[in-house]
């Protein structure tokens, strides 16, 4: 006889801590904010935009992973979030196509 189907689990395990876990991430996010503001005043030249955006992406990733709990989410939720990023990448890629190829067509 087949065993009963296991109910779907959206999060794989209960939260281990109520305050400590989010507090550590919060401190990290504030430290990254301070670092990003500090980096703005360094003479980084053309790399500055990439550095600033890189720090912001790390902050956003922390928010997605811990505060929005993608680190413990089910495959369904992770796949849905990833789909958003995939469509976003299509937007950037197809949107950039004109700018990336225009010099080849009309130098």
């Amino acid at each position: 006889m087949a065993s009963p189907r296991k109910p779907p689990q959206l999060y794989e395990a209960p939260s281990s801590t109520v305050i400590l876990g989010p507090a550590l991430v919060w401190v990290g996010l504030l430290a990254l904010l301070a670092a990003n503001i500090g980096l703005t005043f360094l003479p980084l030249g053309r790399a500055k935009t990439a550095v600033n955006l890189g720090v912001a992406i790390v902050q956003a990733s922390l928010m997605f992973a811990v505060f929005m709990r993608l680190n413990r989410a089910s495959a369904l939720v992770k796949l849905t979030a990833a789909a958003g990023l995939v469509w976003l990448s299509f937007l950037f890629l197809i949107g950039s196509a004109d700018f990336l190829t225009r010099p080849m067509i009309s130098p």
Partner: protein
């Protein structure tokens, strides 16, 4: 985390299935929000690539202090909202309620600071019309993006505040645990609004400075 919803609604016959559908649906919505703001960011960086000096000149007019305070406020509000959801899971409804009100207060604080900044911007003629106070015409395009992105973000935040007030009322009525799905979806929406602000702050206040 409790895997089942508190109150069952039509057409669901299982709390677990209802919760799965709710979380799935809110993530579909959040993905569409990413595309809305993604289009704005893409347009911004495309224009900036074409008019770098004008855009950087515009960025030098934005108030870094106001922007940094607002970012810290929203990061703290996300921390409070995160604690609220986790507290509810371990049946600490009183802590969850306090955190919901703290999140609400920080969100209102954000709008207050943003309002002060808007007043200062208007005083300095940074509204992109014919009286615009900018030497480079491209700075006017920058401020077109500045007002559009910050205003649309503020509208999202205002909607989030409405959801938080709803949760606060539920907490007062002692029905928050029975509506744990609403806490989870409001929390996810609020965090995404904060993520978008992190990118708006970096784009408008830091990149061109």
């Amino acid at each position: 985390m409790s895997q089942a919803s508190g109150v069952l609604h039509e057409p669901f016959t299982s709390g677990v299935r209802q919760r799965e559908a709710t979380i799935f649906a809110i993530w579909i919505f959040l993905a569409s929000e990413l595309l809305l703001f993604g289009g704005m960011f893409f347009a911004f960086y495309t224009y900036r690539h074409a008019h770098t000096s004008g855009f950087d000149g515009g960025a030098r007019h934005t108030n870094l202090l106001f922007g940094a305070i607002n970012t810290a406020l929203l990061l703290t509000s996300s921390f409070a909202m995160s604690v609220a959801g986790r507290a509810l899971e371990v049946k600490r409804a009183a802590l969850a309620e306090v955190c919901i009100w703290v999140t609400l207060a920080l969100g209102v604080g954000f709008l207050g600071v943003k309002g002060l900044e808007y007043v200062q911007d208007l005083h300095e003629h940074l509204w992109p019309n014919t009286r615009f106070d900018g030497a480079d015409p491209a700075s006017r395009i920058f401020f077109g993006f500045y007002w559009t992105m910050t205003f649309i973000h503020s509208c999202h935040l205002l909607i989030g505040l409405g959801f938080l007030i709803r949760l606060g009322i539920m907490a007062r009525a002692r029905v928050l645990e029975a509506n744990s799905d609403s806490v989870e979806t409001t929390s996810l929406y609020w965090h995404l609004v904060d993520v978008i602000w992190i990118m708006v702050f970096t784009t408008l206040y830091l990149v061109g400075k």
